[in-house]
Amino acid sequence: MGEIHVMREQFLPPKPPPRRHLISIADLSREDVERLLATARSFSRSLEREVKKLPTLRGHTIVNVFYESSTRTSSSFELAAKRLSADTMSIKASGSSVDKGESLKDTALTLGAYDPDVIVIRHPQIGAPQLVARYTEAHVVNAGDGKHQHPTQALLDLYTIQEELGRIEGIHVAIVGDVLHSRVARSDVQALTLMGARVTLVGPPPLIPRGIKAMGCEVSHEIDAIAAADVVYVLRMQRERMQEGANYVPSLREYSARWGVTPERLRPGQKVMHPGPMNRGVEIDPRVADAADALIETQVRAGLVTRMAVLYDLLTTGPVGVRAPDPLEVA
């Protein structure tokens, strides 16, 4: 009996501490991340079974609210909730009351009236998840807020690196491209440095935010710098965020000539990651995207189990109070 008990313990995800929201990687400790990754791993084993659905979150309600277009994040949150037997509801801004000018506060109050357990929100404005957290009792998961944070993307990236390279500590990751407009880059820098990885940001000077080194990363403007990395993480050139006439780069043509990730600029064995969606031929050469060392689909699969882990982590502890915001220091 004892042995069986030990076996079963190994398959159970670790016990999470009381927590309310996942809004920023900055809110997590290293232990939190390790626990989430371990939970994700246990879920990935469960997905190998014939019946993939777990009863874990039966009776819980999870609402996905997406104010920005998304394929992989919204589908993966929805599937993650379904795999855990939660009831899900997905709302897109277009076609909802948002079109009629409803404020985010009122949308939050409306959805909150259904007593959902979790609200997953993607919004183009920094601070939107905090606002929803203020006006509902639900656990809030940030699925991307403006250029600020995309914490589940960072967790799935950590999971991918851990699974592919066996560790995160000491791994050197080069993040290439438009860091300025990238919530993925910010979340990844925080998450990777938290776990003891080394991060180098590579890109044209106007697309590397001033002051970013304070986050504990290095900066290079030369594409050659990616050769030293174990993992090359390619960011999407966010054309939709480029203000007209802002002149961050003279042209996409010049950008891809100088900073595009091509097979010639990679060493054999270097892993390549990309948060998607890709602009093939702009930031990433199609030959790189389709090569065996590209982990792009692995990342998508990791997204499912990581988001299952996040939902599990938020919902399997007893009710806890909303953490009061820290009072402002009058310096």
Binding site: S103, L104, K105, H123, Q125, I126, G127, A128, Q130, L131, D145, G146, K147, H148, Q149, R183, R186, Q190, P209, R210, G211, I212, A214, M215, Q243, P325, D326, P327, L328, E329, V330, A331
Partner: protein, 434 residues
């Protein structure tokens, strides 16, 4: 230039035993102050109350009341956020005996007609006298000068396009040349808009981490440098609004040393907070110019102390509650400040010994008055009573439902502050009796 309620209700009272500090009169002594018919009539010990109300000032500070050179009263057009009555009641509760209102309203105060109607309203409603600044350019569009001579005759207290910079250098030069005939001050919002486009907060380590579009210090300081160069060339005076960056302070100090008649102001929030506060993503920490680095803050405190910056200005900017109950990125710029300015600055600058109390009192009263050519409030026999009675021992909590302002977008909500206004006499009338 200042307009408020007039009439027979002038104050008769004696404040006994307060520490009377008047930096203008170089007075710092414990004594009695007698006010007769709204005029200071006697200073001394054991002054005869003459049947007047006696206020016990023991343990309190009596000082010339404050002058706020930068208030958004939101009228006309924004009466849901503030009115002349509510804004001046807030000013009185904050210890102010005079305030200057900014012209970025709807419509803009750019014609004698709009200005005239505001002056009439102030005479009927204002609890403390108000001076109205008129726009430098029509509609604050930065294209054509307003009719400054007529506006000055009508009673404009000065000229500003506050909220917006005057972008074309040639237009700025014309404004510096022409406004001289009015004898009123030109006050400039220094911001190079192409460097601050889309900005949400100070550009630096915090904006890099949070992902906000940054508003670099240099967006302010290049405009400060340009305007000071033009002022030096035209030998014209000017007033710089709400400075926030070290580079701006250094440019101002250099220009003053070269004889440019430049004055400047700084807000309580820029003196008390840094960009770090924005990590809370609280929309009540969003303002223009933004909170900057600790290095900038210490340069501002140093400049206030040594007089390079001669005025504290609240930049009181009321916003309707629903406008600030949005994500930080969607919120409008601006915070209130009239009712908390003294306590915030006493708590964060005077108590820790960064700025002497007398200096703070001067920068909140005589400094801003002189910057606009107004008579500095004084505690002297024969002077109109403009008095504030302060309790520097009392602590109080900033709470939303206690504001006299119509808006509560304060960066200090929930904070406990030391230093409380007990009474304000403005232009000889009891404005606040707490």
């Amino acid at each position: 230039m200042l307009y408020g309620k007039t009439g027979p209700s002038l104050v008769d009272l004696v404040v006994r035993g307060a520490r009377v500090i008047d930096p203008v009169e170089k007075l710092d002594a414990v004594c009695d102050v007698l006010v007769d018919g709204g005029v200071v009539s006697q200073l001394g010990t054991n002054v005869d109350a003459n049947g007047h109300r006696v206020v016990d000032g023991a343990g309190l500070v009596l000082a010339p009341a404050f002058v706020d050179p930068h208030v958004h009263l939101r009228v006309p057009g924004g009466e849901d956020e503030e009115t002349i009555a509510s804004g001046t009641a807030a000013a009185a509760a904050g210890g102010y005996c005079a305030i200057l209102a900014m012209p970025n309203t709807e419509p803009v105060v750019d014609s004698a007609a709009v200005l005239g109607s505001l002056i009439e309203d102030a005479k009927a409603q204002a609890e403390v006298p108000v001076g109205f600044l008129a726009a430098i350019t029509r509609g604050q569009d930065g294209a054509e000068l307003t009719e400054m001579a007529e506006l000055a005759e009508q009673g404009a207290a000065g000229f500003t396009d506050d909220g917006r910079p005057v972008v074309p250098p040639a237009l700025m030069r014309r404004a510096l040349q022409y406004h001289g005939i009015t004898g009123r001050r030109l006050a400039l919002h220094c911001e190079e808009p192409t460097l601050s486009r889309g900005a949400q907060m100070h550009e630096g380590a915090v904006s890099a981490e949070l992902g906000f579009t940054g508003y670099p210090s240099v967006a302010e300081s290049v405009m400060v440098e340009r305007d000071l160069s033009l002022a030096a060339y035209e030998q014209a005076p000017l007033h710089l609004l709400h400075l926030s960056a070290r580079e701006s302070v250094e440019a101002l100090r250099a220009a003053q040393a070269n004889g440019v008649a430049a004055t400047a102001e700084v807000t309580p929030h820029h003196l008390c907070l840094t960009e770090e506060a924005v990590r809370t993503l609280d929309p009540n920490l969003k303002m223009n110019p933004p909170l900057r680095s600790e290095d900038d803050r210490s340069a501002l405190v140093g400049a206030l102390r040594d007089g390079t910056i001669g005025s504290v200005a609240t930049d009181h900017a009321p916003h309707a509650r629903h406008e600030k109950e949005v994500p930080f990125e969607a919120a409008p710029f601006g915070v209130t400040g009239l009712e908390t300015a003294f306590a915030a600055l006493y708590t964060s600058l005077v108590e820790p010994g960064l700025v002497p109390l007398e200096t703070l009192l001067e920068r909140m009263s005589g400094g801003p008055a002189r910057a606009y050519g107004l008579e500095p409030p004084r505690i002297a026999v024969g002077a109109p009573a403009n008095l504030v009675l302060l309790d520097t021992q009392a602590t109080w909590r900033v709470e939303e439902d206690r504001f006299r302002s119509r808006s509560a977008n304060s960066w200090l909500l929930g904070q406990t502050l030391r230093g409380q206004v007990r009474m304000t006499v403005a232009a000889g009338r009891m404005a606040f009796d707490g």
